[in-house]
């Protein structure tokens, strides 16, 4: 048998329905922005069939309604950064301008970021703190699930092979309050984070926290919410929020050592960043 290289099936659907029919094919790989697809194939472009989502304009754009904010899966980071969104989404917009460089922000999509499911995916902590959910569509229908249920493990999601992630939705209550995002790396641009933190605080008129969300990325196989801390923050004055944080709150993190940092450093830095993010949430915009 002679082996042929370089000839792959490449589908360019223009409607979601068409795309979902094609996803039934085995081994189909979907490309959104291409910014994770190509780096994984340096000198070795894959042979399997590819579904280019680029033509699905229906999956692009942000709709803000009375009940929710709906971000199409193909919305780029630049579009997210440039949109007028409530304060609770500020962390997401701050994350958007730290994803790679401008070129990556112009091409990379929120849906691709979630499906690629890197422990260091910049979109995840800020979406966890706004209680985001994802829409998963297949030829047999759409199901919605909370983002934290979608992300199963290191580079593993609940997406079935025949499904496409079509949208990220943020309930209006999730966008309340003030949020902040911090990302730590060893250089200023083009940073893959050592640690990143998203935080959101909702406070009553007297400054008492009524709802808190804190999520840490790059310190576990998937980004985690610090649920115990969130609980302990409720009832505390926003200005005192960072003082509540102690090591116990970060016990659920399982950082690893890699080329970017040691496990111990990640744990230490996570605590500092959580405190700083909470402090920033306390400062009026």
């Amino acid at each position: 048998m002679r082996v042929r290289y370089g000839s792959v099936r490449y589908a360019t659907p223009t409607t979601l329905a068409e795309a979902l029919e094609l996803m039934v094919e085995p081994d189909m790989t979907a490309i959104a922005g291409g910014t994770d697809f190509y780096p994984g194939r340096v000198g070795n472009l894959q042979e399997g069939p590819v579904l280019d989502l680029g033509g699905l304009s229906e999956l692009r754009g942000i709709e803000v309604s009375a009940t929710q904010i709906r971000i199409g899966a193909l919305t780029t980071w630049s579009e997210i950064a440039g949109k007028d969104l409530p304060d609770g989404c500020r962390a997401l917009q701050q994350a958007a301008v730290t994803v790679g460089g401008w070129q990556i922000q112009n091409a990379g999509t929120i849906g691709g970021n979630l499906c690629n499911s890197s422990p260091a995916a910049d979109g995840v902590p800020p979406l966890l703190v706004v209680d985001a959910a994802v829409d998963l569509a297949s030829a047999s229908g759409v199901r919605q699930m909370p983002l934290q249920d979608f992300l199963l493990d290191y580079r593993r999601t609940a997406l079935r092979p025949d499904e496409l992630l079509t949208a990220v939705t943020i309930p209006r209550h999730g966008a309340e309050g003030r949020s902040w995002f911090l990302k730590l790396g060893s250089r200023r641009y083009l940073v893959i984070s050592v640690v990143m933190v998203g935080a959101r605080l909702v406070a009553a008129g007297d400054g008492t926290i009524t709802e808190a969300r804190v999520a840490v990325g790059a310190c576990s196989p998937v980004a985690r919410r610090l649920v115990a801390l969130e609980r302990d923050l409720v009832g505390v004055d926003v200005e005192a929020a960072s003082a509540v944080v102690d090591d116990r709150h970060l016990e659920m993190l399982t950082p690893i050592e890699d080329v970017r940092a040691s496990a111990g450093y990640r744990r230490d830095a996570a605590r500092v960043l959580v405190q700083r993010a909470l402090d920033r949430c306390a400062v009026p915009a």
Binding site: Y5, Y10, T12, V42, Q103
Partner: protein, 906 residues
């Protein structure tokens, strides 16, 4: 076929819809201004606009382009008429090697559409996705900020005024229009592609399987070559006594990425061949990943005859060490280490070759065409004259492109197949297989008397030279000559050893071991100064080497030692910075501001070895001066500097000079672009050749020595004592090069070898410098924010201040990377997102101060500067960190984790 538009013109391309836009632009449309540095969205050099949006072309599938409008760098200029952004780049020295320039220009043009007068921060944010390894970014920022208001470039200086002027890069326009041809930019049509099969293990034995079956089973694969196919000697190496590296491993691979075979075939078929399926069985062996492993008793010996894996040892000593230490009031000792560091030029190794009868012609990105020729001739079993090396434009070298990379593969494939062949490394291939900066483990002990005068220094350095010799002997010899720094001692002893391991070969990298030794020496100086209660700058000034005092090798210079001035000129900056850091610390509890200083020296040229350069200059019948410029310009600016020297020595305008590149068939050997030698040595050769040519022309016109030459309109006029004589070029014989008058000049600095104590005069001149760093450390995260770097360098004479400043900025940027973030780990950081180099936001404001000590041997007083600029940066940063946090970080890189650990150890 996908139909789209590029720069306003209809275009179409076929093949796999998955093909990257970058590949389509370069291969199908021959728009090679869009560069490929990583294929992974990490470097931004392929930045283009698609429907007005800035993207990396390497992440855009062809299949998505139907109906799109693509703008590339070729769409920015109107022919050679530059736009204002491009002119601003040229004026500000924002392009050095030029490989990142198209990406920078595209990002900048996208920004300028939205913000015609951007702030510094806006420029950094917009261009932050493009990496540059040469410039240090600040000149690019300046160029973009000023772009909208930039009008006209300054005119060339009048005759006799080129040296010292800020002449714009003479080869700048092609770098700004995307037409400069780097290693992979001009492969002949129809060339076959070479791909290399490499060891996935640090150390392994292997059995190659059914190669014939493999060739037969794969469409487009034409041939496979292995060690047995090397026609001559399957060994190469840059130093004749240490030729040890095989083109293809024979029995055992000694580092990850070592070649074992190559596959040659039709590019479309094999460019994405999965080489993991090549028929080979690997037997992994226990690797030795550090000198601790390879020096251990019973460790396997990697190279026969190199007992205990020791490649070479170095020694420099003078004075009575024990007595000098005994007479010291304070003695401090400490150990330091530095990791493997990757050159990370943005242009991967690339080239193409063809066989012409019994000769081979290789076009390749290289720093040393003549050495390449010698090495290839041995590998091929040919006479050197049968090999032609034509250097392409070089997209950064920094030392690594002094060694062979793609050249042997090109030579062997072109020779056996008698076909044109080409090759370009992927980024991981480039990183895993080419040389690195030697990792070092250094112990140092230094003493002084209570009045702050140095007494003695003892230095012991162990350098991990990796799997093969490369420039390991050079590093082991240069380091002890420099390891005490430009200071005076009563006694000094430095020993070095270069040890083989299964790391990639360590070779030449900007400084040849001196940056590593300076980190230890300058670091311990701060500890000693503090122990003595001395101001750290004063301590250095007190002990600075001056003219008339012996160096560490006993050499005495009567002039040209501007080190003390470099330190003294920092005084007002130092006082201000110390005051500001104290003020800062009073108002911040969890952040500390630190100030550090470090001095440096660096000998220009080879260490105690012959080091000649020859330059030929001629006159064409059209009355153009033709400079055979053999000093390869790898971005540092040799093309411009040599033109400036030539122009002034002839007494003509720079505009009448044309250049012929460093082609080994036509251009004499100007030696390697390394060791900061070209301005000094080839500059002197240009000077000598120019004076000879001038003398010949004056004689032809029977004019006196004071005569003035004027070239133009097909004639040479000689003005002398009120008379004008025209030299009738048409009446002269034309030689093989098409020239009517020719002169050649050579220069070889007088040096001596080192004796058994390492004493002698290894360099004819040294350059000196001192850098001061101001930074802030976050005490909770260990992060370091650089505020400002002030760099004073004794450059003898700045032939071109803009180019000198460019070298200083670029060296500083690499020093920053070395100090704070860079560490190459084979198998773990083989790309530009895991291996971090500084980005736009990581290089602070740089203030440069040029000290012109007017070296008696340099052309117009000039010294080399290329490597000097990096040496002081990392130690000054580390000293500033220590000043900020009160404890030293002695092991690099000073990553946030390491700095935090140090803070906690207080």
């Amino acid at each position: 076929m996908i139909r789209f538009r590029v720069n306003g013109k209809a275009a179409r391309a076929g093949g796999s819809r998955l093909r990257r836009l970058s590949d389509v632009l370069r291969e199908d449309l021959r728009l090679t201004g869009t560069k490929v540095g990583c294929d992974a969205g990490d470097c931004g050099s392929c930045s283009v606009l698609v429907d007005g949006v800035l993207v990396n072309a390497c992440t855009v599938p062809l299949g998505r382009l139907e109906g799109s409008e693509v703008t590339t760098v070729e769409g920015l200029a109107d022919g050679d008429t530059l736009g204002s952004l491009q002119r601003s780049f040229l004026h500000h020295g924002a392009a050095q090697c030029g490989i990142c320039t198209p990406g920078m220009l595209m990002a900048a043009s996208a920004l300028l559409r939205e913000h015609p007068r951007p702030s510094v921060r806006q420029v950094e944010d917009a261009l932050g996705g493009v990496l540059c390894r040469c410039t240090g970014y600040r000149m690019i920022v300046d160029a973009v900020v000023a772009a909208s208001d930039f009008e006209q470039l300054a005119a060339d200086p009048p005759p006799g005024k080129a040296v010292g002027a800020r002449v714009v890069r003479v080869d700048g326009i092609p770098k700004l229009t995307g037409t400069d041809a780097f290693g992979d930019d001009a492969p002949p049509p129809g060339a076959l592609l070479i791909r290399v099969v490499r060891s996935p293990h640090h150390r392994a034995r292997f059995d190659i399987g059914d190669v014939e079956g493999y060739v037969a089973a794969h469409d487009g694969v034409i041939a496979v070559f292995v060690a047995a196919d090397v026609p001559g000697r399957n060994r190469f190496g840059v130093i004749p006594r240490f030729v040890d590296q095989p083109v293809f491993a024979e029995l055992e691979t000694r580092h990850r990425g070592e070649p074992v075979a190559m596959v040659v075939g039709d590019p479309e078929s094999i460019s994405h061949l999965d080489l993991d399926r090549f028929p080979i069985v690997w037997h992994e062996l226990e690797p030795m990943m550090s000198p601790d492993d390879s020096l251990a008793p019973g460790a396997p010996v990697l190279h026969q005859g190199r007992h205990q894996n020791v490649l070479v040892r170095g020694l420099v000593q003078r004075g009575a060490l024990a007595e000098a230490f005994a007479g010291s009031d304070a003695v401090i000792e400490a150990s330091y280490s530095t990791p493997s560091i990757e050159h990370a030029y943005i242009e991967p190794e690339a080239g193409h070759a063809k066989r012409i009868g019994d000769r081979l012609e290789i076009t390749v990105t290289t720093q040393t065409p003549h050495l390449d020729r010698t090495e290839i001739a041995a590998i091929m079993g040919l006479d050197p004259e049968a090999v032609i090396i034509r250097p392409s434009a070089v997209g950064g070298g920094f030392g690594s492109k002094l060694d062979l990379s793609v050249q042997p593969f090109l030579a062997i494939a072109a020779w056996h197949l008698d076909r044109t062949v080409r090759i370009v490394y992927t980024r991981p291939e480039s990183m895993m297989s080419t040389t690195k900066r030697h990792p070092s483990q250094i112990s140092v002990r230094v003493g002084a008397t209570s009045d702050g005068m140095l007494t003695a220094m003892e230095f012991s350095g162990r350098f991990d030279t990796g799997a093969y010799a490369s420039w390991g002997p050079t590093v082991a010899n240069r380091a002890p000559v420099h390891a005490g720094g430009p200071y005076s001692y009563q006694a000094y002893r430095a020993t070095t050893v270069a040890v083989h391991t299964n790391q990639p070969p360590s070779g030449a990298f900007r400084g040849f071991g001196v940056p590593q030794s300076a980190i230890a020496q300058e670091g311990i100086f701060d500890e000693l100064a503090d122990a003595l209660g001395e101001d750290r700058l004063d301590f250095r000034i007190k002990n600075a080497l001056t003219a008339g005092r012996p160096t560490l090798t006993g050499q005495v210079f009567e002039s040209g030692v501007g080190f003390k001035e470099c330190l003294e000129v920092l005084r007002p900056h130092w006082d201000r910075a110390l005051y500001q850091s104290a003020e800062f610390d009073r108002s911040h509890s969890r952040r500390r501001q630190g100030v550090g200083v470090a001095g440096m020296w660096y000998g220009c040229g080879n260490t105690g070895l012959a080091n000649p350069s020859t330059i030929k200059i001629g006159v064409s019948p059209a009355a153009r001066v033709v400079l055979f410029q053999g000093a390869v310009d790898i971005g540092q600016g040799a093309n411009t500097v040599m033109s400036q020297i030539c122009a002034d020595a002839l007494g003509v305008e720079i505009g009448v000079i044309d250049q012929i590149g460093a082609d080994t068939d036509t251009t004499p050997d100007a030696g390697k672009t390394s060791a900061s030698r070209q301005t000094f040595i080839s500059g002197n050769a240009v000077f000598a050749a120019s004076l000879k040519l001038r003398s010949v022309l004056l004689t032809m016109a029977q004019a006196s020595e004071s005569g003035r030459l004027e070239f133009g309109a097909g004639r040479v006029l000689v003005y002398d004592r009120g008379e004008v004589v025209e030299i009738d070029l048409a009446s002269l014989d034309i030689d093989d090069d098409g020239l009517v008058v020719v002169a050649t000049g050579s220069f070889d600095p007088i040096t001596t070898g080192l004796d058994e104590n390492g004493q002698g005069s290894p360099y004819a001149i040294y350059g000196f410098g001192a850098q001061m760093v101001e930074l802030v450390v976050d005490l909770d995260l260990g992060t370091v924010e650089l505020l400002k770097i002030t760099a004073a360098h004794d450059v003898g004479r700045a032939v071109n201040p803009t180019l000198v400043e460019g070298q200083i900025h670029g060296g500083i940027a690499q020093g920053i990377g070395m100090a704070l973030m860079e560490e190459y780990l084979p198998g773990r950081s083989e790309n530009l997102h895991d291996y971090l180099i500084p980005t736009f936001g990581d290089v602070p404001e740089i203030a440069t101060i040029l000290i012109e000590s007017d070296d008696p041997l340099g052309p117009y007083g000039a010294k080399g500067v290329g490597e000097h600029t990096l040496v002081a940066t990392a130690p000054a940063i580390l000293n500033a960190i220590r000043h900020a946090i009160g404890v030293p970080v002695r092991h690099l890189p000073a990553s946030p984790g390491r700095v935090l650990e140090a803070i906690r150890s207080r």
